[in-house]
Symmetry: C2
Subunit: 314 residues, 2 copies
C-alpha cells in the first residue's frame, strides 16, 4: 500500500441493504455521484454486480482517470481475497467472490471492505481523525459498529471480524445481545433500544409515548426544547456508550474516537455527557491523550472511504 500525496481517482461503492450508492472520488473530493441503485431491484449478486460494473463503465467515460473500485459492504468480508462471507440484511449474498467478479467485469482493480471499516478509513485518511496514529471510528445507528486504525493501518483482526463494539458487554448480567452475549452495548444504544427505553422512561413519569415518537432525533429535539426526561435519556446513553469507550481506551490507548451515524447527530447532547463520563473513568494519561470527535463525512463516508482504500491499495 502506498499513501500517495497526490490522490488517485477511484470509484467508491457504498453497498447498503436498501441502496447501493456510487461516487467518483479523488482524495476527499467527490467528483460525481449518481442515482443510487435499489439493492432489491436485482435478482441475486451477479445481476447487481453487473449493474455496478455498468455504472462504473459510464463513469469512466466522464472520468478516464478512474483507476480502481472500492466496495464497502454491510457484513463479513475477507479483505485480502475480496470475498464476501455473508451480508447482514441482503438475501443471497453468501460466499461471493466479489473482488474477482467485479474486477473481471470492469477491468479495474477492486477492493472489498466492511462498511464500518470503510467509514473509519475515510475519517482517518481525510476526516476528523486525519494524521492520527490510533483511531477508532464508530457508527451509531440501528446497529453499533466500529473500525480500528492502529499504528496507522486498518486493523481487521484474524478473521476480518474486528470492530464489533455493538457486541461488547457493558454489564455481565445485562440484556442479551444477538449472540446471547449478555450486556451487549447495541441492546442499550441501538436506535430501537433507545426508543424503547424512552417509552419506558416517559411511562415511569406517567406519560404515554409511542415508539415512533421516540426516535433518537425526536428525543434530541425534546431535550433541546427543555424536556427533562429526554435530557436524562441522553445522559444514560452517554453513560452506556462512555462505559464501552472507556474500556476500549484502557485496552488500546487510542488518539481518538470519531463518532458518526444518526445517534451522533444529537451533538452536544451526547458529546458533552460522554466526555464527562469518559473523563471520570480514565487515568489522566489516557484521558489527556484522547480526543472524542464528531465524524466529518457521515453519509459520504462510505463512498470516500472505499474509494480511498481502493486508491491506496494500488
Amino acid at each position: 500500500m502506498s499513501l500517495s500525496s497526490s490522490p488517485i481517482t477511484a470509484v467508491g461503492v457504498d453497498f447498503g441493504g436498501t441502496f447501493v450508492k456510487l461516487g467518483v472520488c479523488c482524495g476527499e473530493q467527490i467528483l460525481e455521484t449518481d442515482e443510487p441503485i435499489p439493492t432489491a431491484n436485482h435478482p441475486g449478486p451477479q445481476a447487481l454486480i453487473k449493474a455496478i460494473s455498468d455504472r462504473v463503465a459510464k463513469m469512466r467515460e466522464r472520468h478516464p482517470a478512474i483507476a480502481a473500485i472500492g466496495v464497502g459492504v454491510p457484513g463479513l468480508v475477507d479483505f485480502d481475497r475480496g470475498f464476501v462471507h455473508v451480508l447482514t440484511n441482503v438475501p443471497g449474498w453468501n460466499h461471493i467472490p466479489l473482488k474477482q467478479i467485479l474486477s473481471e467485469m470492469s477491468g479495474l482493480p477492486v477492493v472489498v471492505e466492511n462498511d464500518a471499516n470503510a467509514m473509519t478509513y475515510a475519517e482517518w485518511r481525510y476526516g476528523a481523525g486525519r494524521g492520527l496514529k490510533n483511531v477508532i471510528g464508530l457508527t451509531l445507528g440501528t446497529g453499533v459498529g466500529a473500525g480500528l486504525v492502529l499504528n496507522g493501518q486498518m486493523f481487521r483482526g484474524s478473521q476480518c471480524s474486528a470492530g464489533e463494539i455493538g457486541q461488547m458487554s457493558i454489564h455481565f448480567d445485562g440484556k442479551s445481545g444477538h449472540y446471547g452475549n449478555l450486556g451487549a452495548l447495541e441492546k442499550y444504544i441501538g436506535n430501537n433500544q433507545i426508543a424503547e427505553h424512552a417509552v419506558h422512561r416517559y411511562a415511569q413519569a406517567g406519560l404515554h409515548k409511542e415508539i415512533g415518537d421516540c426516535t433518537p432525533k425526536a428525543i434530541a429535539e425534546a431535550a433541546k426544547a427543555g424536556d427533562g426526561i429526554a435530557q436524562q435519556i441522553w445522559g444514560e446513553i452517554a453513560d452506556w456508550l462512555g462505559t464501552a469507550l472507556a474500556s476500549i481506551a484502557w485496552l488500546l490507548n487510542p488518539d481518538a474516537f470519531v463518532i458518526g451515524g444518526g445517534v451522533s447527530m444529537a451533538g452536544d447532547l451526547l458529546f458533552q455527557p460522554l466526555e464527562n463520563k469518559m473523563k471520570s473513568m480514565l487515568s489522566t494519561v489516557v484521558w489527556e491523550g484522547l480526543k472524542i470527535l464528531p465524524a466529518k463525512f457521515n453519509n459520504d463516508a462510505g463512498i470516500i472511504g472505499n474509494a480511498a482504500l481502493a486508491g491506496d491499495s494500488l
Copy 2:
C-alpha cells in the same frame, strides 16, 4: 527490529516491587540467573541501576556474547525513549531516563518495557502464542494486566498505556476501580477481591472464613476437594473474566488469549468455565478462530520477554 532465526544473547531484567531478577537468555533458553536484588536495598534509582549494571558486567565475563539488556518495569514507560514515567509501588521512580543511564553505565544497548508487555512478548515470541498474528497476554494476580501483539507487533497505544484490561468495565454501575471507573474488572478478579468475595459467599452459607483462608490457591484446592461453594466461586470468576475477554474478542478478533499469573494456576477450574462462557458470548466465526491458552513461562516470562525484546531490537 529484526526477528533473527538465530537468537541473540541478552540480559532480561524483571524489575518488580520486591525483587529485581536478572537472567541471561538466548531465545527461550535461560543460560543463567543469579540471586535477585531486593528492590528496597538501594536508596534511589541511580544506586539500583548501578547494581543492575554491575551484575550485567559480571554476567558478561561468563557470557561474552551478551549484546543487549531488556528491562521490564511495573509501570508506565515510554518505550521509544526508554523513559520511566512512574512505577507502581516503587517509591522514587518518577521521570527516570532508565535506558540512557543504564546504557551509559553498561555500554550495551538497552530497551525498557512495561512488565505485562514483556510477558506477552515472551509468550508470543517463544511461548503459548508463538507464530500467531494477534495475541493478548494476561497476567492475573493482585492486579490484572495485559499486553497486546497485533499484526505481529507489540502494540503499545498512543501513550504506551495500552493493555490495562484490569480497568475495563464489566458493569456500567458496578464496583468502583482505582480511577473511579465503575465495574473495573480488577475489582472482581484481583487476588484480594477474590478472597473478599469468597469470605462473603461462605458467610452466606453460614460458614466463617478469614481472608487469609481464601487465597485463589486455597479456593482452588477447596474446589478440587469437592467444595461446592469454592466451585461456584470459580464459575463466577470465569463469568467476570469471560465477559471482559469476550468484549476484547469482539473488538479485536484475536487468535489467542494467553493467560498467566497466580490466579491462572487454578487450571481447568478456571479455563473450563471460561471457555464455556466465552463460547456463549461470541459468534461462531470469532469463537472458532480463538484459542484460550495457559501461559508457558509464568515466573520466567519477564526475563525471557525482556531479553527477547532487547535482542530483537538490535
